[in-house]
Symmetry: C2
Subunit: 204 residues, 2 copies
């Protein structure tokens, strides 16, 4: 099967970006990163891209008249780099451009078992709520907040975690491998949506 | 350690009641069922109680002027049977009596990983939402809907379930053992509440 061409959108340290590259290099994720797009000229993710010969595009919202215009520019950039799948990796802006959302399959990873604990600080939410199990969710991105159809989930026991920080660290460990695993799925076959149920069809 | 004296409240078939008794008999749940209380004179749970020499009290809301009065009567019944822990097992009425809620530690099992999918038909909710992971939650009962502090959770992969019914069956299997396991915890030690985090202190 052919590699899936992805764009990574990141705003920060790029720890998920790094782990995706590492899984690609290890042969466990059949993808190629065509471009890193970031809204933050100081994002450490940029250095990771440079070290891995991944082209970088820095697009700052302040240079655009609206967030819709900004997202249109992202869409044009994705067109230019011939991207099949858009991977949000610590991208801190909510996507508002209809053209962008309609044109690309966009995925995100959320550090909780959605629909539990959407939004920011999901790990702290889970800890404070006294959840004994949490995990990660990879989902399609729609116009809502962490509300798109669920592609993959993985659970983890957080009952012995003593702080929200420890909870976050424990979840981060599964987050890294889970994301690469899902990207790899996109290289293996098509998927169908039944209602909001996502089902991958293998060997197609 | 001494056995924990429980009351089971059930409205229906009593499948959880049955599995609790079975785990008690197998020596894996250090409890004794002092009484079955049911609001339904036709509940199959009654026969299970009779077969196992568990006293039965049938209390029907229609014989009481209010749900508070009805719950007061449940509280008196619990007092009479010297109960330490109240176990809801398919009990279909929401507890409304403040005296009852304040006097007893009451637990419930919910067929989802709360706070995801509270309320009725949790398994169908999970299936329709396209969740890949669901599970069971044992929690303390408060005046809200499935909102009390979480005691125990167990996750299960439902990604291959083809129907809501199959999802429910898969969850039911872990439900039975999970509930008995949690009841057994109450015989082994005290617990503390830190915010809404439940922590059992062993060997006390």
């Amino acid at each position: 099967m052919g590699k899936v061409s992805i764009a990574v959108l990141a705003s920060g340290r790029g720890s998920n970006f790094k782990s995706i590259l590492s899984e690609i290099h290890a042969g466990r994720c059949n993808a190629i990163v065509n471009v890193l797009i970031t809204n933050n000229p100081d994002a450490p993710a940029i250095e990771i891209a440079t070290q891995n010969n991944v082209p970088v595009e820095i697009l700052e919202p302040k240079n655009f008249s609206s967030r819709e215009d900004f997202d249109d520019k992202i869409k044009e950039t994705l067109d230019k780099y011939d991207v099949e799948l858009v991977v949000l990796a610590g991208y801190m802006l909510i996507l508002k451009g209809k053209k962008l959302l309609d044109s690309y399959q966009i995925i995100n990873i959320h550090p909780a078992l959605l629909p539990s604990f959407p939004g920011v600080d999901a790990q702290t939410q889970a800890f404070d709520h006294g959840a004994k199990i949490s995990g990660v969710t990879v989902h399609f991105v729609d116009a809502g907040l962490d509300s798109g159809p669920i592609i993959y989930q993985e659970a983890i026991d957080i009952s012995n975690c003593k702080t929200a920080e420890e909870t976050a660290e424990k979840i981060l460990k599964i987050e890294h491998l889970a994301y690469a695993k899902v990207i790899d799925l996109f290289s293996k076959g098509k998927y169908v949506l039944e209602g909001r149920r996502v089902k991958f069809l293998k060997n197609e």
